[in-house]
Amino acid sequence: MAHDDNSGKEVAAPVSSAADKYEGPSTGTAVIASDAFTDPGFPPHRERMTDLDPKADKRAERQVFTLFYLSIAGSIFAIASYIGFPIESGATGDLRLSTLTLGVGIALALLGLGLGAVHWSKALMMNEEGIDERHPIRGTEATRDRAVEIFKQANEESGIGRRTVIRNTLIGALVAFPLPAVVLFRGLGPMNVNPVESLSSTMWKKGMRLTLDPSGLPVKAADVTLGSAFHIIPEGINDFHDKLERKAKAAVLLMRLDPKDLNPSPGREGWAYDGIVAYSKICTHVGCPVALYEQQTHHLLCPCHQSTFDVENECKVVFGPAARALPQLPITVDSDGYLVAQSDFNEPVGPSFWERS
């Protein structure tokens, strides 16, 4: 802490320090009227009830130690309820009671302690206001001169200013040395996988059956009645150890509309089967599952950011932040009447990414 040499000499008006040797800092555009008011100084000290009345003082003292007693009682109650309210029955009611009583005990212990301490300080401790003087944050001239001197001396003793090659190569080395660490972080992702390829395809392929999420049972076209919505996963996905990664791309929503209501664009007429359409459930915005299907309006809504897609018009966006239609999975039926994929999706599913075109 720098010893001050000018404190207390300034007046209250915010003029810059005159005692400091260096040129005072800019005051900006502040103007001070010549006839401004001056600081009247501290108002007279007001005594508290506890200062004036010994009874009030005693009462406050009693309140403080009662609060501390309460705190001790709270701690004991918390320990007792830990023992006294077991949760091992598995009933949520028991757990709720245990959480509640334990919590109330701990809260009482804490609040008693806290309120008691604050009440003590407010009502009983000395309450004359203290005053500290401030010193400019900037060190004194002498200190700063000495600091500059030390740096100069260090410069001379090391020669860092003179030996420029040493200095520059040092800087170069310091810049270069963290680079291996950056390279090491390539290992966060597997080496032999290209993320662009992996984002561009799903496990759907020609002839793969559409099965129910989560049971994996295949779905017959006849089962999908008008107004239905089936949550679909690819056949056999449950057998993979990476089923969540596969599901994150391949999840599909299956709906049946009146074929008259569907308006497929040229080339996509064959992607539906008798009014049954399958669309990727993964939002083209940021990837939440879009699964809120309104069977009368034929709208699909994403619950995360409210993007709305129109199933009648190839799931084009009608509201919300998403920009692209949901990708459609071309489907048909196999010889047993089960719904199958005609192929994988014809475009990457899910959120847009840089390499997507």
């Binding site: 949520t92 709720r96 509201f319």
Partner: protein, 249 residues
């Protein structure tokens, strides 16, 4: 408001009058299926036919009821959604207008004209299925609209998926089976009767067992938690800071 009032007056004159008439009628005769259907026919003609057509064929004001079955009637009328009080984004749940007997009479009448999903058997509604399977199916098929805890959620253009707490098992089952309004149909090939029973089991488990952590704040998730922490948590703490720094008397 005027339409609501008009409809209300209409309902009092027609529905109320029929309720009076029919209750005296059922008191006199023993419950036979044909009389039930006849009674349903009268109730239907007075309360439903103006929108849905005398032969269930539907009109400009209401959809056709051909093939909806008893389950659909029981759900729509039994939860008070029908008769519609006013047109809006979706039919709202209201106090039920008819007695359970009258609801089943109308359901029987509609089912007699054209077969459709029936009111489920009580064995599927006992809530004694597999809660784990029910919970998983609920998350996959229902939670995106109704929220994982069945607290409900928003749909497009002012529609919403209603909260499921306090809804009778039979109505939950019928809703899955018939897909009322914008809810998709979950037929028995999609969710088997056992699956539906499991889902009901899970929902009833949530209802019967209190949340272990304490009050749920509406089970609305982080939004409710955030609001709570700002208003009550920080509110309490700021109140303490004011007390803390105020001068003692």
């Amino acid at each position: 408001m005027a339409t609501v009032a008009l409809i209300a007056i209409g309902l009092i004159f027609t529905g109320g009058g029929y309720a009076l008439f029919s209750s005296t009628a059922t008191a006199g005769t023993s419950a036979s299926s044909q009389t039930t259907i006849d009674e349903g026919k009268k109730l239907f003609a007075a309360n439903c036919a103006s929108c849905h057509g005398a032969a269930l064929q539907g009109t400009a004001a209401g959809p056709s009821l051909i093939g909806v079955g008893a389950a659909s009637v029981d759900f729509q009328v039994g939860t008070g959604r029908m008769p519609l009080a006013m047109s809006g984004p979706q039919a709202m749940q209201k106090p039920v207008q008819f007695s359970p007997d009258q609801v089943s009479a109308m359901a029987a009448y509609v089912a007699s004209l054209s077969p459709g999903p029936a009111i489920p058997d009580a064995s599927l509604l006992d809530g004694k299925g597999d809660a784990t399977n029910g919970a998983e199916l609920f998350r996959i098929n229902c939670a995106m609209c109704h929220n994982v805890a069945g607290a409900g959620g928003a749909l497009t253009e002012g529609k919403f998926a209603p909260p499921l707490t306090g809804v009778a098992s039979v109505h939950i089952y019928e809703a899955m089976l018939t897909g009322p309004q914008n809810m998709p149909v979950f037929n028995n090939a999609n969710l088997t009767p056992e699956d539906k029973r499991d889902i009901i089991t899970y929902l009833k488990y949530l209802e019967a067992n209190p949340s272990p952590g304490g009050y749920e704040l509406g089970s609305l998730g982080p939004v409710a938690e955030g609001l709570f922490v700002w208003i009550f948590g920080l509110g309490a703490i700021v109140a303490v800071t004011i007390w803390l720094t105020a001068k003692s008397n």
